[in-house]
Amino acid sequence: MSVAEIEAREIQLEAPTGGLWADAWARLRRNPGALAGFFLVGSFVVIAIFASVMAPYSPTHVDLNALSANGLPTGPSWQHWVGVDQLGRDEFSRILYGARYSLVIGLVAVSSGLSLGLLFGSVAGYVGGFVDSLIMRFMDVMLAIPGLLLAIGLVAALGQGLWQIMVAVGITNVPIFARLLRGSVLAQREQDFVLAARAVGARRRGILFSHILPNAMSPVIVQGTLAMATAIIDVAGLGFLGLGPQDPGTPEWGTMLTQADQYLESGALYLAVSPGIAIVLAVLGFNMIGDGLREALDPKLRGRVGKFKEAKAEPPDGRLVPEVGESA
């Protein structure tokens, strides 16, 4: 191959094959981790939607006859695949219904946190100056308070309940997204295409919405997926601390884990393991998709639909350097 040919080939490889999203999708499809993630999250969503069809019992049906002779929860059997809890409720059905709570709370929390963070971050990044300082200092203040304590405090202030949990977890997400988007917008603001748009006389809001934001979105999408994972853990953590949905009979995974804690001594390990595994699988799914998306949307890898193996390592990323919000 001549030098010119090699160069031509390189240019060809660098050239995007079909737009950012088509490209990303093509790369995502070849990533076994991401596919496994899609499978996990897909099953999670299907279970959440069809819980009432799939569950053999009602999640709140108390059946004291299912308990052992001395009133303790009993382990797996033909009638109850994962055993029954301290009130004789079918554990398997409760796990299936629990998917609803995790999915809905997580989705609402992340999307509200994301939209608020998006608003603050993009305004701060694009307007700059005093507004930028004001917004970002406020975000710094929120970041200085440990995330889980902030969430606990918000639930304590708002009262226990489903929407309160969503608000609390959502708010802890706001500064993370705001910072991410501000950085992203700042980087895009200096790009040539923004200058070009300004030169042809486009209005500021128009430039922000049609030029800057779409290009600044890919880290937000990655972070959003990973935030779903964290949100599910946080919701379960709140439930574990006794700040779950008001009715303690609600089949929320974290709440179920706390109740199981009391029966560990009597050997009812399955009561802790089953909701725990449910949480791990759901969280794992979102983390795997997030990882896959990050690789797929990485502009450095664009236009190479899996033909070339990257010699360089994946760059350290937002999720691995969490600034806040990790529940410890």
Partner: protein
Amino acid sequence: MLRFIVRRLFLLVPILLGVSLLVFVWIHLLPGSPAQALLGERATPQSIAQINHQFGLDKPLYVQYWRYLVETVGHLNLGTSIKTFRPVTFEIENRFPATVELALGAMAFALAVGIPLGFFAAKKYGSFFDHSSLIFSLLGISIPIFFLGLILKYIFAVRLGWLPSIGREDVLATRSHPTNFYILDAILNGDPGALWDTIKHLILPSIALGSIPLAIVTRITRAAVLDVQNEDYVRTARAKGLPPFQVDQRHVLRNALLPISTIIGLQTGLLLSGAVLTETVFAWPGVGSWLKDAIFDRDYPVLQGGIMFLAVVFVVVNLIVDISYAVINPRIRLS
């Protein structure tokens, strides 16, 4: 360098003021009052008024906030817990060492396992071991700490009975604690039995709390080693005939430690800011579980003082991380 540090320290002032205001507004939004939480069903209007008067809660809010600021900044006085009647500073002196010990234990575990794991994963890039380490670290960030804690407790405390499951030392122990760092105390007292007891109590909580940093350290180490391995100076070192072991040690690992050290700092800051869940599972008497209880007890002084304290720790640790990063890596210019 000095100018950078001074400017950063000045920037902390508005942030901490903001935190104090936010915490103040928030705790007064909490439904219920400390007097009610303290007195419970025995509360009479008189006793409530008395408690409110005793803690200055009957004054207007701006007066309360101003007094809180003056006391905190001027006299370093964080007030008295409404629940235990002990000074908040006294509680912090007792509890923060517990949190620090736990955080260091968790970090030690994460580094001792994570760095070798990440290093060998990168060395065997693409191998079965490499893939397993990736899956392992994904699992590490996907397992809720309280679930891992419960399982560890069940296996090693309930089933095998090898390790204690709660607290910092044997409940029957009557030892003196001059520094409140129990490991340090045991060494100072020259008491090997106490040292072993303390370490045994520290193991399970450290593993539970260390699971997330472990996963992160593993991945960052792997990525950093992969990056460094392709550098020219590594090739040069190999070409001049250095034994592979020395190349790895002196050239690869040394340079890969740069990003790892940043992560260590950031993660330690996070761990210090209260491991609420771990401390709850293992009944660890640290700052996190204390503040969680204070929220339920409406213990205003504890919340004001404690969260302020954690915020200071968090921002100061972050500042130290930034500075040390510039010191370790001369290529970074602080601006």
